[in-house]
Point group: C2
Chain length 505, copies 2
């Protein structure tokens, strides 16, 4: 059968986007290298390399030839699809290509370069600032970033608040107003529950998880859980960084990192389960359409739902600890002292009013997120000033978690995100938890023997459920639609809050 003219155009588009993605993946390798093995002074070259690569991929993504090609497949004004005989997935791909084209062409190349240079420098400043607890080292950089992000919001356009323009980059279709509607009841609910749980917590001894854990052995434990989760060791690298992350260069080349703590194996281990959840999503995206929206994650919240379902819903579950209680004991003789599985399970799930987001339990975690959400909204709308950040932070900590950090390193300097220019990203974490709640309920219904399987070390049904229901679709559906289809449950915070209430009561 002869290939139609429209198919030719579509193939040409995919080819161009694949080239742009090849540049972007190289750019990601540069980022990974900066965080892992680059010597300190390598930053000078890195800035130049990043600028060039970003420029190249931006040029490709905003090339007018792309618009010409796309225009014969989709009407730019109405969004009506003009093709015949294309699959639903291909049509969605065209719709998302148009969305990307419009997004990218709103932002001038000169801005991209400036933003890249600013954030590369600011990342280095943040590292120094955090290490030396010096907010004033980071403040001028953050000020620049806020001002650049405000400019970006103007380029992108928005209806109600500049923050919406940024949110939409991470969560297509979401707005600050929608987040308010979700976060407000969630915050209330969490604060209520937290008070109730404070009493119970006194009975838990978190010391049973502490000890002396050689890093090499911690690495072995992490590689074992990654294997159990079903990520092939030919497709990932695990390195150590200050801040754990996962970067998918390509479905078969995923860079995971974690931070090991000699005295607390759960931090590195939990971090790896989280990042490996992200990695499985990247790994499950279809190879055949790589470079196009069909092989891209649906959103940051959907991504986070994949890491959180593994990290907390599975990795903190009772059957998981039935299995890993023994595995951990074999690797670290003397660990857990005389504590039973039940004690360990309770310690792993302890709810604690803590300072650090990445070490937070699954209940207080959302309070950390909502605090950041409120702050970045204020910064972008101009109601908060960068110079007041430490005070605002500490006041909000007092109001919600009832504790105040002694240093800014444990306060407003703790996260890497703002130094990289990520604002609008944090709320996706909590939305991801809510998505995970929906997926979890559906997974449990589909696999009623789930706890038996996990206890026996069979995790592949989870990986395959998520691949089948979420990963393989890429950006074919908008986030909320994707999760509704995957879980069969209309969007709601209820499955998530019910799960929390059920687990901790």
């Amino acid at each position: 059968m002869a290939i139609s003219k429209q198919e030719k155009v579509y193939n040409e588009l995919c080819k161009q986007l694949k080239i742009a993605a090849t540049y972007s993946s190289t750019q990601k390798l540069l980022e990974w290298d900066q965080e892992t093995y680059m010597p300190e002074k390598g930053i000078e070259l890195k800035i130049e390399q990043s600028k060039l690569l970003l420029e190249l991929s931006h040029k490709l993504k905003t090339n007018t030839r792309l618009k010409t090609l796309l225009s014969s497949l989709i009407d730019f004004a109405s969004g009506a699809i003009l093709v015949e005989g294309f699959s639903e997935a291909q049509k969605a791909n065209i719709r998302e290509m148009k969305r990307d084209y419009e997004h990218h062409s709103k932002i001038p190349g000169s801005f991209i370069k400036k933003f890249s240079q600013t954030t590369t420098e600011s990342l280095e400043a943040w590292k120094v600032a955090k290490k030396s607890d010096s907010f004033k080292t980071f403040a001028p950089h953050l000020k620049k970033i806020v001002s650049l992000l405000q400019k970006k919001a103007e380029y992108l356009g928005y209806k109600e608040t500049p923050y919406d323009a940024l949110i939409d980059e991470y969560e297509p279709g979401m707005t600050s107003k929608k987040y308010d509607q979700i976060f407000s009841p969630l915050k209330q609910k969490t604060l209520q529950l937290l008070k109730r749980w404070d009493e119970q917590n006194k009975k838990i001894d978190p010391k049973i998880l502490e000890g002396d854990f050689p890093i090499e052995k911690q690495k072995m434990l992490c590689k074992e859980v990654i294997k159990d989760m079903g990520l092939a060791n030919t497709t990932y690298n695990l390195s150590e960084t200050h801040h754990p992350f996962c970067l998918g260069l390509y479905p078969n080349d995923i860079r995971l990192t974690t931070h090991f703590y000699k005295e607390a194996f759960m931090r590195g281990f939990g971090g790896v389960i989280h990042e490996a959840g992200h990695a499985l999503y990247e790994n499950g995206l279809p190879l055949a359409t790589w470079g196009t929206p069909l092989s891209e994650p649906a959103s940051y919240a959907v991504h986070e739902s994949q890491s959180r379902i593994w990290e907390t819903f599975i990795g903190h579950s009772y059957p998981f600890w039935k299995l890993y209680y023994t595995k951990v004991k074999q690797l670290f003789p003397g660990v857990f002292q005389d504590a039973s599985i039940d004690d360990v399970y309770r310690a792993v799930n302890q709810i604690k009013r803590g300072l650090i987001r990445i070490h937070a339990d699954e209940v207080t975690y959302n309070l950390h997120i909502i605090l950041r959400y409120e702050i970045e909204k204020g910064l972008l709308e101009g109601t908060y000033d960068v110079k007041d950040l430490p005070d605002i932070w500490n006041q909000k900590m007092r109001e919600t978690l009832g504790i105040v950090p002694k240093t800014n390193s444990e306060g407003c300097l703790q996260d890497i995100h703002w130094s990289l220019g990520f604002m609008g990203y944090f709320p996706s974490y909590t939305l991801g938890n809510i998505f995970a709640g929906q997926l979890y309920v559906s997974l449990m219904k589909t696999h009623t023997d789930w706890d038996k399987k996990i206890k026996e070390g069979d995790f592949l049904f989870i990986r395959d459920f998520l691949r089948e229901k979420v990963h393989r679709f890429g950006r074919q559906y908008l986030p909320i639609e994707l999760i509704e289809r995957a879980s069969g449950i209309p969007f709601s915070i209820d499955p998530y809050t019910s799960y929390l209430e059920g687990k901790y009561s």
Copy 2:
């Protein structure tokens, strides 16, 4: 003072070349990553990334705009420099820019892409072949590479043999005939000396260097010697690979690798001294002119002279072991058993008829090189066939070193070079030793208290001598002229052979 038109043209050239170098340095990072941390399946993406980057830098280096700019500074037909008021260094830079332009524009972009893909695949095949001792796994790849290199030689042009075209890429000005004139007496001399030394060797117990050396401690020892040599830890990364190497992405970002052997610390340690010698050269190239020939190493032999002067002339010297005997003992209690410094010094310098080039002593090393030189010449000229390689290899080993490998992994599959398409490179190793001989004699004359300084841990005078005499000139002089100027000695193998005779008699 107003900037002249010619200066503007010169600056524009430097700017363009800096962009090309930024792409090349990114390409180098990809290579480094492939050898260090890339997961196995990452190779699929890596091939695409490499092809794109090579294409970009090749396009820039062969851009006709470059020729237009250059033509106003240098006459392309005669090579006469047309500029006024330029420094000698700048004039040399223009001469070398022309040389590069002519070189690059002879090779079609399509060839570069094909060559890149072939070698990326062949590298992976070589790894498998070496691991499984399967020459037939590698043979078809090597055949393709030889045929591509023959084609490359035709593109580049040559007078007497296609091998000359490849040699010239590594050693500007060298030819196969010139190498024959150097290698023939060196081979004779070495074989004579070797017979004489066989007797002495029986008295040495190499077992005193063996033991159980934890990798983490070996790394510490390596970092200590790198520090002693004067390479700042903000400018390099040391990782582990199968085959040690040094890649300078930029004077301040140098990637060193080594291979640690648990039972023999000298291999990893000696390897690191060697690679750090290369690294110091990269680190000593001028930053201000980065991207242009003035900031590029003069040749592969000059590069090798820098690694070998550190590895063998210094790193195997008596005063060095006066210092490191104690350092090694402190780190590895019980090492060397009851052996004295003299015993250790003799064991480190033992001459041995061995199979593996990278583990060879400084005397037999050149026999390994000359063997490879003869073979690649034969392959390129068509007098040898790839399928006969194992036989040819083994016969030559028997004739020179008097031993024959039991496996091809220890024979013709041992080196990475051919799998990467490097032919014409090996002879630079021995030329580098000869250069190092000249530099060493001059260094000793300049610093008559050299042995006292080394014993006391002061190595910086060596680094600074090499920086001052060699590194800072980049490609301002052709290799032999550079070494003659640096050492004050006309080119000759005598300083090198005298050093060997003196040391081992």
